[in-house]
């Protein structure tokens, strides 16, 4: 995916995944490892604790891909994943972050 230029990237359909997880060291590795071992690039990652800190929420921005349905099933199987939801690319969570990502 690294070879894709900006214009091509804009043309790709994106999806946003919202993942509720138990908050402890290693959970992020479990989740992103599922993507990296399939050479499936994760374009954006956000993660913060939720509520009393027992749980966290991970937001992933990924390219739409035929494998996405399978990826979501694999994520859902992880022991520390409580729930996974899929949103369209226009979800607000990544949109307000642009000021932090200017070149």
């Amino acid at each position: 995916m690294n070879a894709i230029n900006r214009n091509e990237q804009n043309a790709l359909t994106r999806a946003v995944l919202e993942i509720d997880v138990n908050n402890h060291a290693g959970v992020m590795s479990h989740v992103v490892g599922l993507f990296s071992r399939r050479s499936y690039n994760v374009e954006g990652i956000l993660c913060l604790p939720v509520g009393d800190g027992q749980q966290s929420r991970i937001w992933l921005l990924v390219n739409e891909d035929l494998r996405l349905a399978q990826m979501m099933k694999q994520v859902a199987k992880l022991e520390d994943v409580i729930a996974i939801r899929r949103h369209n690319a226009d979800h607000a969570v990544f949109q307000d972050l642009e000021t932090f990502f200017r070149p």
């Binding site: 590795s29 490892g33 071992r37 859902a76 022991e79």
Partner: protein, 556 residues
């Protein structure tokens, strides 16, 4: 009553409470507190392997033979990395395993300490779940949970990495947690079961396709009952062999790369494929687009991620196989399906497996047949990986679930001997035969001395062709006969090696009556290596060339 116990003592107590009576492992610096506690246990027998991979496969052998989680132990660093192959193997074949590794003390993690390796990170992609334990209290939750995860749903390996200071930390204990056991999964959707039954009732040429999940679920009898009631010719994956007796009238053998021709040809004609606890592995399907091209698909699996992964199912059902079949049985109509069964039988008669040489005990099929003739169905048959494995899968009359222990998904050479030792430790009353090759046995040959030490009842049948047989075969068939690195220029004297390790050994090559010599060796209790030379030019046939459709098999 309140006791003060260390993390190590807690770990061992939890294993005892879990019902674990045999563990395999190798001690080392970072796991010595646990070994110290284990040495005080009167309930757990420790088997000292000679390589951690051997310990991992012994635990697998126990798990595969019994269906209960097996336990292996290793120290940090190289101890843990040596376990990884056995853990990955368990992941691919869905074998319940709990691996416990020592780790350097917490304060030294991340400092490149002596024998420190990121065991947690290394084991993420090859375990169902893994833990890095940070306190002795946490063990009370983690250990039962590890067993629960390993045994629940689709079984798999779980690794628990315990830093040395957690092992030595003493805490007060008054209450013990319940042991971890398999959790029930939700029942199959009755609507989908009805739909599936309707589809089965309406099918003209259905085939039942059994995978390892049938064995894991203990659902062999239910699967046979379904086949008999609905008139379903039945194929099995490598992992499902034994689920339906090979000589059952509806049994159509193993499908895929080294199937008999009739098996793959029947699949080519079927109009409904009922996949049960199978995952459409590439060695089973061949070129996926050409697999069962006319068939609708019903897919039942306990792991929802397997549905639609390779083939899109018309009906996909997430459920425990035994439970789903229990619902499906009364819903399907009794059907003799005479035309289709007659057609399957005609294919069987017209395109049988070529067993030329089966009457000669010095041939590969003859040797396998002679072993089978000397044993009953109570014996356990383990294999290593290679030509011998496929020949045994094709020719051994397997009739019982958990009779057959083989490394299917990962295809790990070196699996056979330690897995057979593990099975023999778990099922002392059985004879365990390990078919192996001269390539495979060398990959864990050190465990022969463990077999001697434990005096396990294993018979290692070594089919020696002085080559890496499947590599030799593929180079011959697909690489212009350019044989490279597949023929051993020097071979050890396996009989002397076995004797040197302290186990009995015989050479069938030197016997005037190999079948009789074999029978005598199999009847003696204790470990024995039986060496037999075979012809290196023999191929595993038929064969679907890698990437080809299953109907395009080559060879007899």
């Amino acid at each position: 009553m309140t006791e003060t116990l260390t993390g190590a003592q807690i770990t061992i107590r939890l294993l005892e409470r879990q019902g674990i009576r045999t563990v395999a492992g190798i001690p080392g610096g970072a796991i010595l507190p646990i070994y110290d506690a284990l040495g005080q246990s009167t309930e757990i027998h420790h088997v000292l392997a000679r390589h951690e991979q051997g310990a991992g496969f012994m635990a697998q052998g126990m798990a595969r033979a019994t269906g209960q989680p097996g336990v292996c132990l290793a120290s940090s660093g190289p101890g843990a990395t040596n376990l990884l192959t056995a853990i990955a193997d368990a992941k691919l074949d869905s074998i319940p395993l709990v691996a416990i590794t020592g780790q350097v003390p917490k304060a030294m993690i991340g400092t490149d300490a002596f024998q420190e390796v990121d065991t947690y990170g290394l084991s993420i992609p090859i375990t169902k779940h893994n833990f890095l334990v940070s306190s002795a209290e946490e063990l009370l939750e983690v250990i039962p949970r590890a067993f629960r995860i390993a045994a629940s749903g689709r079984p798999g390996p779980v690794l628990v990495d315990i830093p040395k200071d957690v092992q030595t930390q003493a805490i007060e204990i008054s209450d013990w947690p319940e042991p971890g056991h398999a959790q029930a999964v939700p029942a199959a959707d009755p609507y989908l079961i009805t739909e599936a039954a309707t589809m089965i009732n309406a099918a003209e040429r259905p085939i039942l396709y059994l995978g390892g999940g049938v064995v894991h679920s203990g659902a062999s009898a239910a699967a046979i009952e379904l086949a008999e009631k609905a008139g379903l010719p039945t194929v099995m994956t490598l992992m499902a062999l034994g689920a339906m007796p090979v000589d059952h009238p509806l049994a159509m053998g193993m499908l895929g790369m080294h199937a008999a021709r009739f098996t793959n040809l029947a699949l080519d004609e079927c109009d409904l494929l009922i996949a049960v606890g199978a995952r459409f592995d590439d060695r089973a399907t061949g070129k996926v687009a050409a697999f069962c091209p006319q068939a609708k698909i019903i897919h039942i699996d306990i792991d929802p991620a397997e549905l639609d992964k390779i083939k899109t199912a018309h009906i996909g059902i997430t459920a425990d196989i035994g439970e789903a079949l229990g619902q499906l049985l009364p819903a399907v109509q009794a059907h003799s399906r005479e035309t289709w069964i007659a057609r399957s039988n005609a294919l069987k008669a017209q395109f049988p497996l070529d067993m030329t040489g089966a009457d000669n005990p010095r041939s590969h099929f003859g040797l396998i047949g002679s072993v089978a003739a000397a044993l009953d169905d109570e014996a356990i048959i383990a294999t290593d990986v290679g030509q011998h494995q496929m020949w045994v899968a094709q020719a051994y009359p397997l009739r019982r679930p958990r009779q057959w222990l083989t490394s299917g998904g990962l295809g790990t050479m070196g699996f056979g001997v330690p897995a057979a030792i593990g099975a023999a430790l778990a099922e002392r009353q059985r004879t365990v035969v390990c078919f192996t090759g001269d390539g495979s046995i060398m990959m864990n040959i050190q465990e022969l001395v463990t077999a001697a030490e434990e005096n396990v009842n294993i018979k290692i049948v070594l089919m020696d062709n002085a080559t890496l047989g499947l590599v030799h075969q593929q180079q011959t068939l697909f690489y212009g006969e350019r044989l490279f690195a597949s023929q051993f220029r020097s071979s050890p004297d396996f009989v002397k090696i076995a004797q040197g390790f302290g186990i009995a050994a015989i050479d069938l090559d030197a016997s005037p009556n190999p079948a009789a010599t074999l029978m005598e060796a199999l009847a003696q209790p204790g470990p024995c290596l039986i060496h037999a030379s075979i012809d290196a030019e023999q191929k595993v046939y038929p064969m679907v060339p890698p990437g080809a459709a299953n109907r395009d098999m080559i060879g007899a």
